[in-house]
Amino acid sequence: MKNKSLLLILCVFIFSVHPRDFATDSALKTFNSGSYQRLLTSYKDQAFVLIIWSITCSSCLKEMSLIAKLHQQQPELNLVMLAVNDHSVDTQINEILTKFKLKNLENWVFAEDNSVKLRFEIDPSWYGELPRTYFFNAQHERIGISGMISEEKYQQLLGLMKK
């Protein structure tokens, strides 16, 4: 009887965990070939922001406080982060995300460090400069911006995204 109760409790929790909840908890999702399309599918008919960064990109790290602020002030925003580093530096990635309170965002990591192929799948016209941020509206029309974005510009682009 006791075992059955425990099993029931376990089952309830397994099924109560939404896939996206699981992803945003502490795991760094692996961004493989095809992941970009799957990402678009998972945000079907929703606006979202894809923030691409690297642990060796100082401009990316400087921008993280702003991202955390936006996340706090506008929790309804779908902010997705993608590090172009691979899992071999998970510790450092997690340290940075924890430091800037971005751990509970949807976080991805390249399957292969700085993969040209994965970059190409996201955007053949992106040369790899970082940070690289894509603003998608609900129809998934996107604007790609290279470099750090000021708070004012961020708000402007988020506004455009909602149209």
Partner: protein
Amino acid sequence: MKFLSLCRFLVITILSMSLSVAANSKIKKTHDLQSTINCDDDKALPHIKCAETVSSTFDKKGTLWTVWTFNDHLYLQSSTDQGQNFSTAKRINITPEIIRARGENRPKIKLDQQGNIYLTWTKSLGKRFTSDIRFSYSKDGGHTFSEPVTINDDQLVIGHSFDSLAIGQQGEIFITWLDGRDGFKAKQAGKDYLGSSLYYSYSTDQGNSFSANKKIAGQTCQCCRLQTAIDQNNQAVVVWRHIFAGGIRDHALLKFNDWESVGEVTRITHENWKIDACPHHGTGLSIAKDNRYHLVWFSNSETHQGLFYGFSTDSGKIFSKPLNFAQQGAAHPHILTLDQQVFIVWQEFDGTETLAKLIRSNDSGETWDKPRIITQVATDKMDQPFLINRANQAYLSWHQPNQDYQLKKLDEKLIAANSH
């Protein structure tokens, strides 16, 4: 409620750990399949194929010299038959050190007229964004190398990187690099400092001693390779990506008057690329025998995108109207001049293969033929392409990390065989 939260936490932790292990196993397995030499094996012997980058040059006798890293050591190999066969790999540093060898930052090798070999590299100091500039030489044709020394003299654990090496007509050794000491001092004083600084040092005694470090420019972009060349008047010329007023990351040039003094920092490209980020995309510079400066560079500004070429006939004050010779997907151009011939190579990933492309001028850069594909490799993981000169013949030096190093003679036969 606490018990329920703990259960949920445990379930999620166990599941995430399983997924993480599975992902890591998959990455390792794919890597193993790519080569018979297991470059990840701690016991593996050094091999050029396991290198991330290969830096190469020909000496005046036509011998090819390559320098690459493996397991925290720098190795040297030579070939007397243009890369068909190589000598046994010679280890340079006895004490292991983490050497930056990826993309824009890689070891350098140059020889003087006497055949002395000079090497520079960037040694990581462990903490992110910290490194030193290292130097070593051989005066016996590569049999023995000097104990590496650190060229930056500030003793600060900060960034010193993107070493660039050139040898003067009298054997002077010129080293320039990006240095973080000014930014560090400004930060300590509570002030801002934009970008990095350009520093240099030189030796007139075959590397036994070096001049005190001297700053030659501030507010440089922090992450693009430098290019250094010696002009026909034995004056050093340095080109880098700068941060101009308004956050514009276009290119600058400095020409030395002699080994001790420099001219003015000159802005030489005008794409007005306003970006607060690191493009990781440096230039290519080659100075011809007629003292014409030839330059290739990358931009992604609103008005100018892709790869560009220009030349200067007045020692770098003004450059010709830029030729936009490649657009979307084109990257990392390099340039070489041989008398009136000028070669430009670059790479492009087309979704499946990485192509090495070429354009050539026979009239010192005034006119150019259409791009050709010189070679391609079925991968997205290629090192940057470089051009080197052997007895007035251009060669493409191109490495596929963990796979293969190739040297291709860019003779008329090869060029003709590759259609536009």
